[in-house]
Symmetry: C2
Subunit: 504 residues, 2 copies
């Protein structure tokens, strides 16, 4: 009989080999978005598919399943090793619920739906998208049934992005927001408005980029283990904790475009750089979940990056770079402008508060689509009703409405809620960090982020996938998901921004 | 029984899948040289190894061997398909001669020898390199025995880089050079010397780079299917004919550094872009050989790029960019300076004529090392004797002597001769192109390279690996390798450069 050590070595070997293929695919993906010449698309798709298939074959093979089962039964399997094995087994068993034929059908449909979405956007013609979306939803419904679910078919899909999340858990969270946010927004709307016009002056491209790299470095992003480049849509990608890259975009007449995307991706990247290198390719070397990933990006972007202390340090530097555009602006004015609240049509451009209505709308729509009570053909109308109801605005067309996000065309139903969960966890983590580090604000105001980063490394990053989101949150803050913490953070912050005392 | 078509489809599927892994590895390799942050090395090595192993396993599997054998026996296999299958079978059978254990030993020794070479260079201490080089040579000798060879053990290694090349073929070629080049060089040395000092004025980095991209585009390099970046050592890499990238380097006080490397790599890249896309990943979609590849880079760099007609077009443009540095220089002076002949120590910086002594010296040394009549410990002394004998110069240390090239540390014995063969084939192709295209010089002087590129596409690029080097040369020019053609080209060209009639 082979020893537990031998079996575990074999487990590591297969799992890390699969990670090599996936990480190689990530390099090809990065290159595709950042530097690949246009005609490179011709063969890049098949190269990516070959890599993905190879990784998938390794991780769904009978050999791998047997190995995991045998390891799970070994009593002498140590703590960390057991954690890796149990998580891999969980993935394996979930993956096995979908037949190869089903996965292929889904992949093909993704390609068709995505094509239809592109076409619908190009022609601003939602009808083109409807039949392909309908087919996609039918497949996702089938996927729910194959996975099985406790109560709502949507639960099974949520679980792909956020293990353990269910409609039962999310409904009350969004209900609380539905109750609490509107009065808050009402008070803000009634307060004297914030001036953010100077954000739209001229800011030279290279100077913006250079400034953002300085900010990233100061945040603690290791530029010897990463780099920032331009891409159409900002993203973070990791090939190992020693090579984690971010991208950004620049709009010369809107400083916000680069600023928040760069700090946001920087937060994601700090998480990836902080994952334990010795767990390369294994579950404990991977991020806990999408919501925890998003908590890191939003903690840096919103709690810190849109905070007054942050700009007490950085604003004089920024002003030095853009002395004309920011001539008569103060750090406090800059902080306020960074937090202007106003209902808007595009999710990715929304402020920190109204953002959650964008998510809530998608969440309600996804549930209804999965339940079958809403047909894709009626989506555009329902979308506009919701935007009118919650944000009091109407899209001028589907491009700025129901066609704005790529997610559904990719079959990513259940993904949107993780964005909001990320904000809520961020607020909880930030509150705890402020308790644990009483001088945090002063340190941030001096441009010192290392204590906070160290705190994040110790309390969150080092664990990889060891704990699920809520369990991790409970370990760090003493309680699970608690949206009231976000609301408290919001009231405090926006009282300062709008100079009025906001009440619950 | 499966039809020939079915078998051939399976052959294509496996071969192209292996190509996907190799091309993905090429993307990772490009990234490593061009953009990867320093710490990325930590896990990049294992990712590259995983990809290479996967490709290797596919192409050495019993399944693949059986498939190739069966296809080779099918009488209804069509022309192009047969050509692919026979070439793959040849590769397969050669690969099978080396056991997996031997390949692993060789890979490990490569890593050790390369490490020792780096160390020896860092400390300028050749002795550190000797034992690792000795082990490498013993392995290469063993590799020869495993391959088997007609006459000389070196033949088996040559065959890895240049199918069909042997000592019997190369000895007379280098003997002819040994006879013919010295009198030519003597006449050049006695002639009034060329002034190339203006090459060493100040040339701004970005402007040099921009100019080289213009030249590449004009040559016909498709920038929608490629790009140029900076790297320490210039190279060309291909992920498919639709994505072929070049790199260059810039020295602000030596225009030559960028200029010749960029045109040289451009020649390689035009070849890769011209390979038949529908043969992706198959032998007929790959370059004929190293020497034919080098013939393309050298034809563009030397025959064209260092020709008067080329600069009749480009010099006014270059002068417009660098109006200070090139104020009092004419196109003819620029052409002459581009072809200054002088013995030098570093192979990669040598002129078109003395270059071949550098190769000849390495060729003689490699043969002697393989025969066992020369021991690595005596290499440094022998190296300097040869340089004194053929070039009349002495290295001040091993860095500019025996330690200058990486090749032996990689186990690449038999590689150097392909550089010289490339020059000879280039001269033959160029002579033929001039016959076939009577207005070639005039077109080049007008900056029109499309007719020549078309000629190269039709006569050389489109065939991939279909013909071996000499056979391809014979099909294009009517005869096999003929070094006298190069010597004729050299006499003509350098008569113009030095303004004296050079005689055989």
């Amino acid at each position: 009989m082979r020893t537990t050590n031998e079996l575990y070595e074999q487990y590591i070997s297969i799992t890390q080999k699969a990670a090599d293929f996936n990480n190689a695919a990530a390099v090809l993906g990065w290159d595709q978005e950042v530097y690949m010449p246009q005609k490179g698309f011709a063969h890049r798709g098949r190269q990516l598919a070959t890599l993905a298939t190879q990784a998938h074959e390794l991780l769904t093979s009978e050999l791998y399943g047997t190995l995991l089962q045998e390891l799970a039964g070994r009593e002498d399997l140590q703590d960390v090793a057991r954690s890796n094995v149990m998580l891999s087994l969980e993935d394996y068993q979930k993956g096995k619920k979908l037949s190869a034929a089903f996965v292929e059908t889904l992949t093909e449909q993704t390609s068709r739906s995505y094509g239809a979405w592109i076409k619908a956007r190009r022609d601003n013609d939602f009808a083109v998208y409807v039949p392909e979306l309908e087919r996609m939803i039918a497949l996702k419904r089938q996927q729910s049934d194959l996975y099985g679910y406790p109560q709502h078919p949507y639960d099974a899909l949520l679980d792909d992005y956020e293990k353990g999340a269910t409609v039962t858990m999310l409904d009350p969270v969004f209900e609380e927001l539905r109750q609490q946010l509107p009065p808050l927004l009402g008070q803000i709307a009634a307060a004297p408005q914030v001036d953010d016009q100077f954000f739209f002056r001229h800011y030279a491209r290279e100077k913006q980029f250079e400034f953002s790299v300085k900010v990233l470095a100061q945040m603690g992003y290791d530029l010897d283990a990463g780099r920032q480049d331009y891409s159409e849509h900002p993203f973070t990608t990791s090939f190992a904790p020693t090579d984690v890259r971010v991208t950004t975009r620049v709009d010369e007449t809107n400083l916000a475009s680069l600023l928040w995307s760069s700090i946001h991706e920087g937060g994601h990247a700090l998480y990836e750089q902080g994952l334990p290198e010795e767990q390369y390719g294994l579950p404990l070397g991977a991020a806990a979940s999408l919501s925890i990933h998003e908590s890191q990006s939003r903690l840096w972007e919103n709690c810190l990056g849109r905070g007054l202390s942050f700009w007490q340090h950085f604003f004089p530097i920024l002003q030095g770079v853009f002395s004309d555009a920011l001539a008569n602006v103060s750090a406090t004015e800059f902080f306020k402008a960074s937090n202007k609240v106003a209902p808007s049509l595009i999710r990715t451009e929304a402020d920190e508060l109204t953002y959650h209505f964008h998510v809530m709308i998608r969440y309600e729509i996804e549930k209804a689509l999965l339940e079958g009570v809403l047909h894709p053909r009626d989506l555009s109308g329902v979308w506009n009703e919701y935007y009118h109801k919650y944000l009091g605005i109407a899209a001028k067309d589907d491009l700025s409405g129901v066609l704005q996000d790529v997610h559904w065309s990719h079959g990513s139903f259940g993904y949107f809620p993780t964005y909001s969960l990320g904000s809520f966890y961020a607020a909880q983590f930030y509150e705890q960090a402020e308790k644990d580090l009483p001088n945090l604000k002063e340190q941030v105001a001096l441009g010192n982020f290392s204590t906070l980063l160290q705190w994040l490394r110790i309390h969150i990053h080092q664990y990889g996938r060891r704990y699920r989101s809520e369990e991790l949150c409970a370990r760090v803050t003493g309680k699970g998901l608690d949206v009231s913490c976000f609301l408290h953070y919001a009231r405090q912050k926006y009282s300062a921004v709008y100079g009025v005392e906001l009440k619950a």
